[in-house]
């Protein structure tokens, strides 16, 4: 079993703020990614959580699709 595969089952060891804290950051994160800006280091814990939580990962993908659409619509 590779470390990566084990991480998928057991999660990673990085600091994970959980779903509630993660959802507080999701809109800001999606706007940054939709603009194509570099993701600041302060999102490291949020990204750890996305790696560990499929529901939050799916929700982020959904909101990112909306943010990209809005970004394209407004031309910014």
């Amino acid at each position: 079993m590779t470390d990566h595969r084990l991480d998928q089952i057991l999660g990673t060891t990085g600091r994970d703020p959980g779903c509630d804290a993660g959802l507080d950051s999701i809109d800001e994160y999606c706007d940054i990614v939709a603009r194509g800006d570099p993701v600041p280091a302060r999102f490291a814990d949020f990204l750890t959580h996305l790696g560990n939580c499929r529901a939050c990962r799916e929700d982020t993908e959904g909101l990112l699709a909306v943010a990209r659409e809005e970004q394209n619509r407004s031309g910014r």
Binding site: I9, C19, L23, D27, D31, A34, G62, V66
Partner: protein
């Protein structure tokens, strides 16, 4: 709290929604229409996970999600700080409402129960991640650690999420809990298992 400098469109949304006249009604109608559209878009994005002949029910779920999201947005309007565009901030609420409903809908006829036979079925019926488990020794050690160190609730949540692909929203609903609490239980269970596997001599794989 400070409000960050808003882009023009976000400032207009906020101004209109805080208006005491007709502009507010118009803004609420526009916002609701956007939320319904986003919820339906999310349903389309997730269509492969949904029952085939449930289009009408799914659309009802989308409208319900938009209604609840609208109420949440209006009640939390004074918490919007401008860290994201207003539309992204607002759509967060409907994405969360819609996705939770859609995941629960997809699982509504499936049981969630502690099933220890899953360990025997991993090789042919489990999700791809588990099909790739090549180290039987480590898998057996993991099974022993689950039996020895997890409470029954932790076992149910750990095995359901990581082996049976049960969404945490579904577990939260069935167990009368919240998504955050279910995730915390999963997180604690994973930490226990990591410690147990490290103690059992698998420290190298734990790094």
């Amino acid at each position: 709290m400070d409000i960050l400098a808003l882009d023009t469109e976000s400032a207009h949304w906020l101004r209109d929604l805080q208006d005491e006249g007709g502009a507010r009604d118009d803004a609420i109608a526009r916002l609701h229409a956007m939320l319904v559209r986003v919820a339906r878009g999310e349903a389309v994005r997730r269509r492969t996970t949904l029952p085939a002949r449930a289009a009408e029910e799914v659309d009802d779920l989308c409208v319900q999600a938009a209604n609840d999201a609208l109420m949440a947005i209006l009640s939390k309007l004074d918490t919007y700080r401008g860290a994201a565009r207003f539309t992204t901030w607002a759509c967060k609420f409907v994405i969360l409402e819609a996705s939770a409903r859609l995941r629960r809908h997809a699982w509504r006829e499936r049981k969630v129960e502690l099933d220890d036979t899953i360990w025997d079925r991993l090789s042919d019926q489990a999700p791809p991640v588990l099909q790739r488990l090549e180290d039987d020794q480590l898998l057996r050690a993991l099974h022993r650690a689950v039996d020895a160190h997890l409470t029954e609730r932790q076992r149910l949540i750990f095995q359901s999420v990581t082996m049976d692909d049960v969404p945490i929203d579904v577990l939260a609903e069935r167990l009368g809990s919240t998504r955050g609490a279910i995730y915390k239980t999963l997180h604690d269970a994973r930490a226990k298992l990591r410690r147990a596997l490290t103690d059992a001599g698998y420290a190298e794989q734990m790094q």
